[in-house]
Symmetry: C2
Subunit: 184 residues, 2 copies
């Protein structure tokens, strides 16, 4: 469901092709919403059928043809009312298979659990590095006109940054406890 609103959100900034949307997701939303390209194309078809967007095929000679989608009035309304709904209860919910593994970590010796947490920490650090280059790519979308928009984009980046920092600190605390722990 949310993918379709993400698409509507981008198309609300201006017409785009499926390929453009894939790039847009990759360069901005990917930290909290990873979109498969195949899924985007499927969703575009559904949205067009619903009348939320309309597509126009652009014939190109040097490159493959493409289909540019624009948001319709009804599409705009649907998007705006989704926004107006505000934060749902699910916003505080955090689903994680990794934490489930940690929960059952008592079935492994401390050294193995510690190794798992160290791997997690390393992945977090890699993630942080990748994030470091994001604010710039995000500014490409805004063009000086709309500082107001970019503030919100920065909010989501800040969230991701705080989240990962928190993960690393937590992992450190866990690892320390595991190191000071005698074999059960």
């Amino acid at each position: 469901m949310s993918l379709s609103f993400g698409i509507l959100g981008f198309l609300n900034y201006g017409p785009m092709s499926g390929y453009d949307l894939i790039k847009a997701f990759e360069s901005s939303l990917q930290f909290f919403w990873h979109a498969q390209s195949s899924h985007i194309y499927l969703e575009l078809k559904k949205l067009e059928k619903k009348g939320y967007i309309s597509g126009e095929t652009i014939v190109q000679s040097d490159r493959p043809n493409k289909k540019i989608f624009s948001i319709t009035e009804t599409g705009k309304q649907a998007f705006m009312s989704w926004l107006a709904e505000g934060a749902g209860e699910d916003a505080t919910q955090f689903k994680s298979a990794f934490l489930m593994k940690v929960f059952f970590g008592g079935n492994m010796p401390p050294a193995q659990s510690a190794a798992m947490l160290r791997k997690f920490k390393k992945d977090c650090e890699t993630y942080l590095e990748k994030m470091g280059s994001t604010p710039e790519s995000i500014e490409n979308y805004g063009s000086n006109k709309e500082n107001y928009q970019t503030m919100y984009w920065q909010f989501t980046v800040d969230f991701g940054y705080g989240f990962i920092k928190n993960c690393i600190e937590w992992a450190d605390r866990c690892i320390e406890k595991l190191e000071n722990c005698k074999e059960p």
Copy 2:
């Protein structure tokens, strides 16, 4: 997929009925894995078919009959190898429809976005209360087996606590920026 490993994990502690599992999920894993009761029963059926668990019907006169499930040797092996896999890349991934709404918050006036963030903050605080404040009661993990298990359970609680605290602080920062922001 993860639900089935959660079930296997609990059954690895000892035999349980579907109903027991529902309670177990509600009282421990629910902060990072919310399981529907219908889904648990479906998964139990699948796991039995796979030979990972075996069920035995207990006839009760005063209460509805129940089916007690036990983990099999192959089930144990599957569970242990899942644990041994360690943290996957997906561990750092955080999917959130709410953050997507924040990302597109520039389409709303600052007052409305601020209201959304205040609602989010309030939900976080409610969540914290439900969790029960357990910040510094984490000391004294000795060497016996029971404490060894609970240490890991505490790890996941700590994560949840840090996560929510981080959410609240972030929301505060965002709200402040929105309050000091002129209408676009």
